[in-house]
């Protein structure tokens, strides 16, 4: 049995037969032998046909807006004018249109937001080209068989044709946020994307697509599938408190009904989104109170505004930056706009008084001791007793020894910590494996944080993705983390996992995972240690 690794989308495995989709139309540019007029008579109907196809899809597909936009792009006048120039220079209709598209979409390629669109338009240009030669292009999927579609990538026009025969999708390119991944997730089709060794798959071969194991198994059967772990509670109480990450009132209600022990991360951003003007203290108070009143009993940690040029807010006047993740964001805004933090802390304090529920505060993007001190002083001046910082920038881990008596707790944001630790953009389609929460270097960073913080009497929580993975939550508890905070939908699963082990067992499982040198090994070692506990 041969295993091909990738990034799994969904968690249901499926047995099916490989159906390789290759680009069936790979023409070479050529010159015409007739008149410009004759070529135009081929080109115009071909463009119209593709435009009509896109408009038809726009009406029938749930993500119709993409197709509506594509219809507009393929019928672009500047594109046609440029193609006409190329026909005048000698190219035939299809070659000219394709060449014009390549040239015109070049300006879109520098920008990651638009480069996917450029690929889509290029795919349409190939379709136009095929039409000019009288060739019907399109993905023809046989009906009635269980198939796994295999290709480098799928254009939106292709994914729209996925029918009930499609039991799985495998691509060489793309990451968890690519078009095909999003579509498969929404349609419940298991997929593995970013499979480098895709060429090992042969047409008609029987395979198992196993997204929960981030892999494809050649000759695999359903009994080989990775089982999503389920945890049957053995203890009455969770080993460490399980809190919820909430962004609004609905989340807070969910965290309460899931039995959360409090809120480990209240993202205050929601009170500011879609606001042209800076919201007044009263407005903020109102928003915060709604969340506080709906939140579960226990700790309540509010994070001060985490905005930057990636999440711009008009009233903050943040300029465009080359690298928003490395720019003026989080607590760094305080340097240019101290009044903002003052307002927010005032509103949070009032919300605490009105609700009668204790509120703790923490600041995001703290990289230096001076920043931690500044925030702690501000927060304590506003009357907060329990004050903390996020651990996201690796630099602060090495300075925790200077924070005794300055802060009461730290909360590890594993998503940003991974991004900065591995120098890997959180949204990059090809870097998903670097951001795996089981990366041993990340576990080591968490362990160091725990040890350094505890030595100074500082409590440690984890509020990133890592805290939402039940098995990893056991590892975190074993590393000495005091609380985990999970997304409300995962609070119950994480709580159940933390009711299956005692402190000694968790420690052994954590040790097994943290001593590995690969993310996949760490995950497997934890499972093995758990099974053998």
């Amino acid at each position: 049995m041969i295993e091909l690794k990738g990034i799994g989308i969904g968690d249901t495995a499926a047995e099916a037969v490989v159906f390789k989709v290759t680009a069936s139309f790979n023409p070479e540019p050529k010159n015409h032998s007739g008149s410009v007029q004759e070529e135009l008579e081929k080109l115009t109907p071909a463009i119209n046909k593709v435009t009509a196809e896109m408009n038809e899809l726009a009406g029938s597909e749930h993500d119709g807006e993409i197709f509506e936009a594509l219809a507009m792009l393929v019928s672009d006048e500047a594109l046609l004018e440029m193609a006409i120039e190329k026909i005048k220079d000698g190219l035939d209709a299809g070659s000219a249109f394709h060449a014009a598209t390549v040239e015109l979409t070049e300006i879109l390629r520098e920008d990651p937001d638009f480069s996917e669109r450029a690929n889509d338009v290029l795919d349409l240009a190939t379709r136009v080209w095929a039409h000019t030669e009288g060739i019907e292009l399109g993905l023809e999927i046989p009906e009635g068989e269980a198939l796994v579609l295999v290709a480098d990538d799928f254009a939106p026009a292709d994914t729209a044709k996925f029918n009930s025969s499609v039991k799985g999708v495998i691509t060489r390119n793309g990451g968890p946020t690519s078009h095909v991944a999003i579509l498969c997730r929404s349609k419940g089709i298991p997929a593995v994307v970013g499979v480098a060794e895709i060429d090992k798959l042969d047409q008609g071969q029987k395979i198992l697509i196993d997204p929960a194991g981030d892999r494809v198994l050649i000759d695999g059967v359903i009994s080989d599938a990775t089982v999503s772990m389920s945890f049957a509670p053995e203890h009455e109480k969770t080993l460490i408190p399980v809190l919820g990450n909430v962004g609004n009132q609905t989340d807070a209600e969910k965290a309460t009904s899931a039995g959360g022990h409090g809120v480990g991360l209240f993202r205050t951003e929601f009170a500011f989104l879609n606001q042209e003007q800076r919201p007044s203290i009263d407005q903020q108070l109102n928003d915060y109170l709604n969340v506080l009143n709906a939140a579960p009993k226990g700790q309540f940690i509010a994070r001060t505004l985490d905005a930057g040029s990636d999440k711009p807010l008009p009233f903050l006047g943040i300029e465009d930056e080359e690298n928003p993740a490395l720019g003026v964001r989080g607590f760094r805004i305080n340097d240019t706009d101290p009044e903002f933090m003052d307002d927010q802390l005032n509103a949070l304090k009032l919300a605490e008084e009105k609700s009668g529920k204790a509120v703790s505060v923490m600041a995001p993007m703290i990289a230096r001791v001076s920043e931690a001190k500044k925030f702690a002083e501000l927060a304590r001046d506003h009357g907060f007793k329990n004050v903390g910082i996020m651990v996201e920038t690796p630099s602060i881990i090495f300075q925790l020894k200077h924070l005794k008596g300055v802060i009461d707790f730290v909360s590890i944001g594993t998503n940003d910590l991974s991004q900065y630790l591995f120098a890997a953009d959180r949204l990059h389609p090809k870097l998903g494996t670097l951001l795996d929460v089981w990366q041993p270097a990340l576990l080591e960073a968490i362990k160091t944080t725990v040890d350094e913080a505890h030595a100074q009497g500082i409590k440690v929580g984890v509020c990133g993705e890592a805290g939402s993975d039940p098995m990893l939550a056991i590892v975190l508890a074993g590393l000495g983390v005091d609380t985990v905070s999970a997304s409300p939908s995962q609070v119950e699963a994480v709580s159940n996992a933390l009711k299956t082990v005692d402190a000694g067992q968790a420690k052994a499982i954590a040790l097994a995972a943290a001593s590995q040198n690969r993310a996949t090994f760490a995950r497997e070692a934890a499972k093995k240690a758990f099974a053998e506990r």
Partner: protein
Amino acid sequence: MIERTIKVADPIGMHARPAGQIVKLAKENGVSILMGRDPENLIEAKSPILLLGKKFKNGEDLIFRIDAEESQANKLLDEIGEYLGN
């Protein structure tokens, strides 16, 4: 000729759909729509791809100039405002 400044209010900036919609609006109403950042250097909204190439970002103020009667121009400018997320 009517001029108005409209802010792009879309987290990913002016993307393909609004660009296409503005071009379509100009075509369907038989008017010329000039737009851009710099009043001295506006471009005619004829090509969605060229508009995308200008990379108008969220929060940017764009100037729109429409050569039409005041009531029609204002109606079209309102529509453009909606396309841009206002």
